[in-house]
């Protein structure tokens, strides 16, 4: 075990899997120059064929990843930022998500599509997307959005070993967070299993990606007020660990979802709807959502930050659910 960053966990996971299986290769724009540091040392270790710079061509490289996967390779396609997934939607939806089904199981697509959720850093609406919820509406894609270095390493390795297409969403707000991460080359976290990040009794907070550390901060703060939050991180959005979520809500009777995506049709909305449908009897109050406001992300940091889920908003929602309007004067 060593304490490493979220970014380093990505690097290690890829490195180990590329060492283990020479069908794994990685391609992307400026992957050799290695802009964010997730492929440091890769060219030296694996050469320019397996660590492949590409033209600016997201649709092309995702589709090429799909084709290479179909003939037995296990590609990792790095699309850099999640905002660059849109030009690749054609191949992601019509080829990657659907090929296995359309051909009745003849195709196998062990393909990882990586991209960073790059928000909260004054790069404006065209660079700040958090689009995993859109992909959740499309069957055939596994969707992973880890919040810690530990989870990232175990899930990235699982994703690379999975025989199905997996979209890895890497939250830029978590990049530098550190964690004890196992060195065991077979350390794997199975896709589809959520995690209780903090146990609690009063309110269940289901938080997604960068929403997790924010929720944990809120939990810490509210603990001082005597309100106990249970923070659940689904880690995978598809498949979603509904059972873990519902069990927690059945225990606490109260639920908040926290999601950095725009609220409408978000993962946070989906989880709220699931709770309202399957744990209604246990609910003692409304299912509240703390998501990103339904507007675009502006450049100016002054007005950008408050649009995303904050500790204050989570705390306010929790207080409302337990019936306390104002925090007790401390």
């Amino acid at each position: 075990m060593a304490k490493v960053t979220y970014l380093e966990a990505i690097r290690q996971a890829q490195m180990e899997e590329m060492q283990r299986d020479d069908r794994v290769f990685i391609m992307g724009e400026d992957i050799v120059c290695n802009v964010f540091g997730t492929t440091t040392g890769f060219v030296e270790a694996f050469g320019l064929e397996r660590v492949r710079d590409t033209p600016i061509s997201e649709n092309g490289i995702v589709g090429a990843g799909a084709g290479a996967a179909m003939v037995g390779m296990r590609p990792i396609v790095d699309v850099t930022l999640s905002s660059f997934l849109y030009p690749a939607m054609d191949q992601i939806v019509s080829i990657v998500a659907k090929s296995r089904y359309i051909y009745g199981g003849q195709a196998k697509l062990p393909l990882v599509i990586r991209s960073c959720l790059f928000y909260g850093n004054a790069n404006a609406a065209q660079h700040s997307d958090r689009p995993y919820s859109m992909f959740m509406n499309m069957p055939g894609l596994k969707i992973v959005a880890p919040a810690t270095a530990y989870d990232m390493k175990g899930l990235m390795k699982a994703a690379i070993r999975d025989d199905n297409p997996v979209m890895m969403f890497e939250d830029g707000t978590c990049w530098s967070s550190k964690d004890e991460v196992p060195d065991d080359p077979d350390f794997i976290i199975p896709l589809g299993r959520g995690d209780i990040k903090r146990e609690g009794t009063d309110v269940t907070v289901v938080a997604v990606a960068g929403g997790v550390p924010v929720a944990l901060k809120a939990a810490k703060q509210l603990a001082k007020e005597g309100i106990s939050l249970e923070v659940i991180d689904p880690r995978c959005l598809m498949p979603l660990d509904r059972e873990l979520i519902l069990r927690s809500v059945r225990k606490t009777g109260r639920a908040i979802t926290v999601d950095p995506a725009h609220q409408t049709c978000s993962a946070g909305s989906e989880i709220a709807a699931t709770i309202a449908e399957h744990a209604f009897d246990a609910l003692r109050g409304p299912v509240l959502r703390v998501c990103t406001a339904d507007t675009h992300i502006p450049f100016s940091p002054t007005i950008e930050k408050a649009l995303f889920p904050t500790v204050d908003r989570i705390a306010a929602a929790a207080r409302r659910l337990v019936g306390i309007e104002q925090p007790a004067a401390a």
């Binding site: 290769f25 064929e49 061509s57 090429a64 019509s94 359309i102 199981g105 195709a107 055939g140 199905n164």
Partner: protein, 332 residues
């Protein structure tokens, strides 16, 4: 003509006839409602598909389009699972999940007949990349139409293949139309092969009604691909006899005289004449045609006798493991 070439020639003839008979039958039973969904026929273009696929090795890859009946048969697919697919049966090549636009048989190296126009091009490029990385010497061939060259996916696939000098062959089956839109309305270049210039890719234009000519052109491209020379663009000038899709209730485009003109250069008729000229007997050719017709009858019988898929199968093949079946369908 040596025996070997003879075999090859007869095989080309056989595959073209298989396609023609398969589709004649499909069109007829589609008109009666036995095949659901849209049906895009390949009739008229058989020499393009067969000539191209005959130039490939068995283990080479091929990717096609919505007009999906011809390519897999050209690549050597058996007819039973294809016909069963058209009827939506569990024994179909795609277990009834793909239908007429997706008759892809992976066992013969067919890596998808994809109905989103242009979407197969990056896939073929990726298969070629896989071959290059594995060093297994395989070539990936991609069919697409004149219309598909307007799509960004076409551009990106060709560009990557050119930049990386991949073992790929891009076959533009130029039948002059995209649905109702003539190529002169949707393409700015004089001939589709000019598209290749934007990638510094060698291009060949070939008579798509002449199966030998197509085979020769593609063979040259395959040779270049296999020996590290990178991709080639091949334009087969061809024609589809039917409207964009058949039995649509109305004709989308009346092409007038033109159809008759092209029928005079029917690829099967032309090839039969050539084979006769080369000394193959009419009996041999007739026998091949009967066999093709019989294969189609057999395939249809098989398809008709095959079971329909069970409701639960709708949840297989989303992933390698089945996805959960909702309660309301659990015992449907």
């Amino acid at each position: 003509m040596t025996d070997q070439t003879n075999d090859r020639s007869l095989e080309k003839y056989r595959r073209m006839l298989r396609i023609r008979h398969f589709e004649d039958k499909a069109e007829a039973i589609h008109a009666q409602g036995e095949i659901p969904g849209a049906l895009h026929t390949y009739a008229g273009q058989e020499a393009s598909g067969v000539g191209a696929c005959m130039a490939l090795g068995e283990s080479d890859y091929m990717v096609g389009t919505h007009r999906s009946h011809g390519h897999p048969i050209a690549k050597g697919a058996k007819l039973r699972p294809l016909m069963a697919e058209l009827l939506g049966k569990a024994t179909g090549i795609c277990k009834g999940k793909g239908g007429s636009m997706h008759l892809s048989d992976f066992s013969v190296g067919s890596l998808g007949e994809t109905s989103i126009v242009g979407s197969g091009v990056p896939v073929a490029t990726g298969a070629a990349l896989g071959s290059k990385l594995k060093g297994d010497g395989r070539v990936a061939l991609c069919f697409f139409g004149d219309g598909a060259t307007g799509e960004g996916a076409f551009h990106e696939g060709l560009n990557l293949a050119a930049v990386w000098k991949l073992p790929a062959v891009f076959v533009c089956e130029n039948n002059g139309y995209a649905v109702s839109t003539p190529a002169r309305t949707h393409v700015p270049v004089k001939t589709l092969a000019d598209r290749a210039k934007g990638y510094d890719m060698p291009a060949i234009i070939v008579d798509g009604q002449d199966v030998d000519a197509v085979e020769a052109a593609i063979a040259q491209a395959v040779e270049r691909a296999r020996t590290g020379g990178g991709p080639t663009f091949v334009e087969t000038k061809t024609y589809r006899y039917a409207d964009h899709a058949v039995n649509m209730g109305r004709i989308l485009l009346d092409r007038g005289e033109e159809v008759g003109e092209w029928r005079k250069r029917d690829p099967i008729t032309l090839y039969r004449a050539r084979l006769l000229e080369q000394g193959v007997s009419a009996e041999t050719l007739d026998a091949i045609e009967r066999e093709a017709a019989d294969e189609v009858e057999d395939a249809l019988r098989f398809a008709r006798e095959s079971p329909l898929p069970e409701q639960a199968e709708a949840f297989d093949d989303v992933f390698t493991a089945a996805v959960p079946i909702p309660d309301y369908l659990a015992d449907a």
